[in-house]
């Protein structure tokens, strides 16, 4: 009986497969009507966990998030999603990625994230965002619904935008355009030798020069007068940063580099800084706290930088920062593993972070750092209905199973290339 049902489902699936001809599924249409998610454990990401919760949403917005046990509602006209035993979370946010800008690392033609030149504040990642990337459906299958693809390379690599992961085209996928530019702070140390037999790491002699270049560039941007010099794309692109309308994402890793970068930024009153990378943020926790900036850590799944470092230093760094009152998030370099974002948060819990902070690390805090927290990052009334329903704890790969996902109230089709291949070969072995 069960087998028959299964075959029926499979046949249905195979026909869908043929119809779609192995393309990514179509983005969802506008949401039909008001919907109620009932009896789920709701993790609002504001520190609240509602065990028997109800979430109502309409026209793409959350109407209500409450404890269902002691509230009476009239749900006439609502579509009901029975979610007993399930968990509801805000759509996860991957705040610094290469999503849509790179398809196959080893195939140059598929790479669109690195422009030529040291100072490129004017280049914009949004327009290269490939909504048809096969990586996108695979990533959202694990609950990641928003991301900020960033330009890389040079000193100022360009301007990034926040995208959602269910668009027909880049304009459609834009959540917030040109949220900030990316400044890659010079490195203090340089590797010597060659890769198979690395020599010692030496001090980078050009560090001071490069820092000066940055200072000069910003000073000239501040002095930019379009009437005098005519249009200059680079200088124009800098104006919003100087006014604080665009964020300045500073990529810096070593303690001293971070300190120097924060010093630099503090000279400009209006600049809004977010630190990215920050491998060694633990060295300068006080300084970061004082500067009041958020930190998007590089992937936690990396080795400590020095043999004598605590083996778990990268894992416990989120807790060290969060406990000091710093907003922290986490990113992935490249697309190879970025779908594992929630498990990074889970791993941080294993090394000292509390559950509430761990969830914020991949929802509310990155939303705040990207300037989209008025709509995204937590489950609150009037915010966008962008959320996921998981069968179990989403931070643990042992239990995480994303059953449904919604972006602005529209339900996302969670079929992806990998699931299609799975079904195909399950069919083979029947």
């Amino acid at each position: 009986m069960k087998t028959n049902l299964y075959i029926a489902v499979l046949v249905l699936f195979m026909s869908t497969l043929t119809a779609l001809h192995a393309q990514n599924p179509a983005p969802a249409k506008e949401m039909a009507g008001p919907t109620a998610v009932m009896n789920a454990t709701i993790h609002t990401a504001t520190g609240r966990v509602i065990n028997n919760g109800v979430l109502l949403f309409k026209d793409g917005k959350i109407e209500m998030v409450e404890d269902a046990t002691n509230i009476r509602m009239d749900l006439t006209g609502y579509e009901i999603i029975a979610a007993e035993g399930m968990h509801v979370y805000p759509g996860l946010i991957l705040p610094a990625s290469r999503m849509g800008l790179s398809e196959i690392d080893a195939v140059r033609a598929t790479l669109d994230y690195r422009e030529v030149g040291d100072f490129n504040p004017h280049v914009r990642s949004a327009i290269a965002f490939n909504t048809d990337s096969e990586i996108i459906p695979v990533t959202r299958s694990n609950g990641i619904l928003l991301t900020q693809p960033m330009p890389e390379g040079g000193i100022i690599s360009g301007s990034s935008s926040v995208m959602h992961l269910d668009g027909w085209n880049y304009e459609d996928a834009l959540v917030k355009e040109d949220v900030g530019i990316h400044l890659h702070w010079p490195k203090l140390f340089r590797n010597t030798g060659w890769w198979a037999e690395p020599g010692p790491t030496k001090k980078e002699e050009s560090y001071e020069d490069d820092v000066k270049k940055i200072n000069d560039f910003f000073a000239e941007a501040q002095a930019y007068d379009r009437k005098l010099s005519g249009n200059n794309q680079k200088m124009s692109a800098m104006q919003a940063v100087l006014k604080g309308d665009k964020k300045l994402f500073i990529h810096a890793n070593y303690g001293k580099e971070i300190r120097d970068a924060l010093d630099f930024a503090s000279k400009y009153d209006q600049i809004e800084v977010v630190l990215v990378g920050a491998d060694e943020a633990w060295m300068v926790i006080e300084e970061i706290k004082k500067a009041g900036v958020g930190v998007i850590l590089s992937e936690l799944h990396r080795l400590p930088n020095r043999p004598e470092d605590d083996y778990d230093l990268p894992f416990k760094q989120p807790a060290l920062l969060a406990d000091a009152g710093i907003r922290v998030s986490v990113s992935y370099e490249g697309n190879r593993s970025s779908r594992n974002l929630p498990f990074l948060a889970g791993h941080a819990v294993a090394y000292g972070m509390n559950q509430a902070d761990a969830l914020k690390m991949i929802t509310l805090w990155p939303a705040e750092m990207l300037g989209i927290s008025n709509q995204y990052g937590s489950l609150e009334e009037d915010k966008s209905a962008t959320f996921i329903i998981s069968a179990g704890d989403v931070l643990d790969m042992r239990t995480s199973k994303i059953e449904r996902a919604f972006i602005d109230g529209r339900e996302v089709n969670l079929v992806d290339k990998q699931k299609r291949l799975y079904e195909k070969f399950k069919y083979k072995y029947e």
Binding site: I104, D105, W195, L303, P307, E308, V349
Partner: protein, 1016 residues
């Protein structure tokens, strides 16, 4: 008696006349002198153990005729009175390239696969065994001077180029005529693992170098019995078989590797050491290593800036402290060594470093032995070199004092085969002292002082403001000095008279008036300025008392005591048995003698240690089927697509902190694989992660043999850049042919050997033995089920192909590793009998992983394939439990089955499941106690043990962190003290850890590939 004496005299006369024969053309009249020289009244250090407080040495024609306390001084002789001086036998350096011009290295564009040498050379250009030092040696004035100044008289010199570096010779440094300086020409041989100027791509890794040296020695053995080919490289290797051999081991671990490789051929290499030998004394004792120690003691690190200081590793800091103690510690442990002047840090003289060595506690006797008699002995030249005795070369050092102890002691002259090289004029030395004179109702002091080789002249009157001026002393001991006194300017000249007083003539510049004064000598003897000397010695002693611990390994998270096997009782744990019994609740496990002794409820056993396992999960240790940690200097021998001759076992690196980090992730064993650059890569090393043990003890004893194969993009060099498009194969089509060709040849090779071995002993005596081929040998082992394949693979076509090759050749592919498309042909794998060791969810990094899916493991398992999850990555290796758990998420795999993928199944794929991989009485106690369900993201190991020894625990880790911190503080303080004292320091260098991945190409040709793809 008389007859005998007469005989000796006659003999010596005979020797003299022969030795003096001069057949060199002369410009002018014949000028042969055969002068006899006498050094008398000197303190004579005859050898390391024998001294003469006062005695004489008589030598002629470069050879010592007599040494003794009461010698009759010949009437006709040049006699030097060396009252107050010390004479040493001159030093010997066994590691030198003196007088041999370095080859020019020409870097080629793109890879070179064949030897460009057009001559009848060996097929690999790094084997330069035919190189003759005697034919190329030339006297080199500048470098000779440096050697002589530091006391050296003879060196064993050889080429610095190549793996087989050819013949070496002993040469006398201070004899300008090569015909007289070359001793035992080409009487030695030299080797290394460095390929030098060879432009050939092979070998591109350390293990390749080792395999090449092995293979060439086997080739030489074969060559000796054949007559079809001429190969002067092999010919030379054969001629070197019986000669003493030096080996340039260029790092600490290579010393052991070279010693071991030498032993395989019955060679007892004399090994240049790294200076870090104190870190591996036990291992060196085991191979009874003969070492040439460099005195390369690092300067203190500049740790003033806390940010900069952080990049200095604890290992480097500790080594700074220990480096001068290297020789002492080796000596205390009965190891034999000599010293070399190579490797000295810039600005430091050999003698300075030598004194530092003695100050650190090495006995003077042992230091002298290491410089004189021992090297002479190892060269087989004890009669000629290394001591002051009759018949030996007159290789003598004249010193102002104890060279090994006194900071101001100076080598005045280095006599080499009778040639006198002086560095300081004797007259100047004689002038050193204080003199007193009286003038103009004032007494003044004249002082001639010396600091090292610099002399200073000063005058001082009773009034300290007077007499101040400037002066100098000439080589003949004459002084000149100008000064002001009572507003007048004076010039002064002085010469030493026979009574060693100064006769001074002082001239008043204005008036031209002169007066003559004699300044009488106050004290005698050489008085060099040595103000800080006493204090220094105190500090040194201070330092010895407080030397830090020696850690195993000598780096972060090393321990003073290696872990010991304990009887351990783990109580009340949730036990994941990986056996029929499944997961047992509230169960005890007893570990004894390194094995699992008992499993049950409420066990009653006495134990050294009882661990409360309540609310914890006990599992068997994680086994990583595919790892590249703990490998030295190249994970790929990328110069050929078939390199089954190389083996990772040669290059296991026990000093890799990633071993410790993985213990902290619950890993206890791993297969260290060759990379994926070649269709047939190298042989594997199966290790347990016994951090702190030497490489030889990490290797799993009696482990089955494995080898890496590879398919796809890495093998066909798809992502290697434009310069790598010439190596066969460049397509998947070519890969198949590499396999067929290899195995066909292996079959023929085996048949050839079988035929030879079937011959009777008599027939064999006349028959030529086949050439031993390490490459084909490994393939023969595969065909005979004695070696098993782990094959890097991605797409289904090539997997299909290799199984077909195997089926037709009669072997089984044991494991497909990575096997990202295994799900597409899991049925075929199951029927072939291949296992699959895969990543949980990696993809997008290259073309051939586009169809990789996280459902792969589950799908393969569903078809009966034995499935493991591997890391191929030092970082991911420490959370394989999470990687296994992903199959629960993606394919609803039962937890026990998921867990087996990183334990029992990996053991099965490595054919170790009879001893590891499950919790069963009698199996090795490689266990991990987790604080949570091990498949949960929230889990981490509290304890990791291997064979009943605890290698990691959170508790101990906390202590080690504290220990590292305290050790850093202690050493930082010492280094700051050095800097404050004004001693030279160096800027910090961060230890870069090379993390190998399987497509990392150990090839020199890749140097310029700046964009290194971390593809797998």
């Amino acid at each position: 008696m008389l007859k005998k004496l007469l005989g000796i005299i006659l003999l010596s006369v005979l020797t003299t006349s022969l030795g003096a024969q001069n057949f060199f053309p002369e410009n002018g009249v014949h000028d042969q002198r055969n002068t006899t020289f006498v050094l008398k009244n000197a303190k004579i250090i005859l050898s390391a153990t024998q001294h003469l407080e006062k005695g004489s040495i008589i030598y002629r024609d470069g050879k010592i005729l007599e040494v003794g306390a009461d010698l009759k001084i010949p009437e006709k002789a040049v006699v030097y009175d060396l009252e107050g001086f010390t004479v040493y036998p001159s030093f010997i350096d066994l590691f030198s390239h003196y007088g041999i011009s370095a080859s020019k290295s020409v870097r080629s564009r793109g890879p070179v696969y064949e030897n460009p040498d057009g001559r009848a050379a060996y097929r690999n250009a790094a084997i330069k065994a035919e190189f003759s030092s005697k034919e190329t040696f030339e006297h080199q004035q500048d470098s000779a001077k440096k050697y002589l100044e530091n006391g050296f008289g003879a060196v064993l010199t050889h080429s610095s180029d190549g793996i087989a570096r050819g013949f070496g010779s002993v040469v006398l440094i201070g004899e300008e005529n090569p015909s007289r300086s070359l001793l035992k020409p080409d009487g030695f041989a030299a080797y290394s693992f460095l390929k030098g100027s060879s432009t050939m791509t092979y070998p591109s890794s350390l293990m390749g170098s080792m395999a090449l040296l092995r293979q060439s020695l086997y080739d030489a053995a074969w060559y000796a019995g054949q007559s079809e080919y001429v190969d002067f490289g092999l010919d030379a290797l054969n001629r070197q078989a019986k000669l003493p051999k030096v080996f340039h081991a260029d790092d600490k671990l290579t010393v052991l590797r070279a010693a071991k490789l030498g032993r395989e051929f019955g060679y007892d290499f004399i090994l240049t050491a790294s200076g870090k030998e104190y870190q591996q004394i036990e291992e060196l004792k085991k191979v009874n290593a003969r070492l040439i120690l460099p005195l390369n003691y690092p300067k203190a690190y500049d740790v003033e800036d806390p940010d900069d200081a952080l990049v200095v590793s604890i290992e480097d800091m500790k080594h700074w402290e220990y480096a001068p103690h290297n020789a002492r510690l080796l000596s205390e442990n009965g190891l034999s060594f000599t010293f070399t002047a190579k490797g000295l840090p810039k600005g430091k003289s050999f003698l300075e470093a030598l004194r530092e060595t003695v100050a650190a506690g090495l006995s003077k006797e042992e230091a002298l032995r290491a410089l004189t008699s021992r090297p002479a002995d190892w060269l087989g030249m004890s009669t000629e070199l290394g001591s002051i005795k009759k018949g030996a070369f007159a290789n003598l050092l004249i010193s102002t004092g104890d060279l090994l102890e006194e900071d101001d002691a100076l080598i005045v002259s280095n006599i080499n085969r009778g040639n006198i090289h002086s560095f300081v004029p004797m007259a100047q030395l004689a002038a050193v002292g204080s003199y007193e004179g009286a003038w103009d109702e004032d007494t003044f002091k004249l002082k001639v002082s010396r600091k090292d080789k610099k002399f200073n002249v000063s005058l001082q009157g009773s009034d300290s403001t007077q007499w101040k001026g400037k002066g100098e002393i000439t080589a003949l001991g004459h002084i000149s000095y100008s000064f002001k006194k009572d507003e007048k300017t004076y010039r002064m000249q002085g010469r030493l008279n026979a009574d060693r007083n100064y006769e001074l003539s002082i001239e008043d510049l204005q008036s031209g008036g002169r007066i003559q004064i004699t300044a009488a000598r106050l004290e005698t003897g050489d008085q060099a300025e040595s103000s800080s000397q006493e204090k220094e010695t105190e500090d040194e002693e201070d330092k010895n008392d407080k030397l830090g611990e020696i850690w195993h390994p000598f780096m972060a998270y090393g321990k003073a005591e290696r872990p010991k096997a304990e009887t351990i009782l783990i109580k009340n744990a949730t036990v994941w048995t990986n056996e029929e019994a499944g997961i047992l609740q509230a169960t005890d496990v007893l570990v004894r003698g390194g094995k699992i002794a008992q499993i049950g409820k409420d066990l009653n056993a006495t134990a050294d240690r009882t661990i409360d396992g309540k609310n914890k999960h006990l599992t068997t240790g994680i086994i990583d089927e595919h790892s590249h940690i703990a490998i030295s200097r190249g994970v790929n021998e990328s110069a050929s697509s078939l390199t089954s001759e190389v083996t990772i076992e040669d290059v296991v690196n026990p000093d890799d902190v990633n071993i410790y980090r993985q213990l902290a992730g619950g890993v206890t064993a791993a297969q260290l694989l060759h990379g994926s650059a070649n269709s047939v890569g190298g042989r594997s090393a199966l290790i347990k992660l016994k951090y702190g043990s030497p490489a030889s003890e990490m290797l799993i004893p009696n482990a089955p043999k494995f080898i890496k194969f590879a398919l796809g993009e890495n093998v066909k060099q798809s992502n290697w850049g434009e310069s790598n498009t010439t190596r066969f194969p460049q397509t998947r089509m070519g890969v198949e042919q590499i396999f067929y060709d290899g195995f066909m040849r292996a079959k023929e090779y085996e048949a050839e050997w079988k035929k030879y071995q079937s011959l009777s002993a008599k027939q064999r005596a006349t028959a030529q033995a086949p050439r031993r081929d390490l490459r084909l040998e490994a393939l023969v082992e595969i065909l005979n089920n004695e070696r098993f394949i782990s094959c890097h693979s991605y797409v289904q076509s090539e997997i299909n192909m290799l199984m077909q090759v195997a089926d037709s050749m009669g072997f089984t592919v044991n494991t497909f590793t990575h096997i990202l498309e295994g799900y597409k042909l899991a049925d075929k794998m199951a029927s072939h009998g291949a296992g699959g060791s895969t990543f949980s969810d990696w993809w997008v990094y290259k073309m051939e992983v586009q169809e990789a899916i996280p459902y792969n493991a589950g799908l393969m398992a569903s078809q009966g394939v034995t499935v493991a999850i591997n890391s191929d990555d030092a970082e991911m290796g420490r959370r394989l439990n999470q990687e296994a758990a992903k199959s629960i998420k993606y394919t609803e795999m039962p937890e026990e089955e998921a867990w087996k993928m990183v334990t029992l199944n990996a053991a099965k794929l490595l054919k170790l499941d009879d001893r590891m991989g499950s919790i069963k009485v009698g199996k090795e106690a490689d266990l991990v106690l987790w604080n949570e369900n091990p498949l949960s993201v929230y889990a981490s190991p509290d304890y990791t043990m291997i064979e009943g020894k605890i290698y990691f625990s959170k508790e101990e880790d906390a202590k080690l962190r504290e220990k590292i911190k305290q050790e850093r503080i202690r050493l930082t303080e010492m280094m700051l003290k050095e800097k404050m004292k004004g001693k030279p320091t160096q800027k910090g260098k961060k230890k870069e850890q090379k993390i190998w991945h399987c497509s990392d190409r150990g090839g020199l040709e890749m140097v310029h590939m700046h964009d290194h793809l971390h593809d797998h």
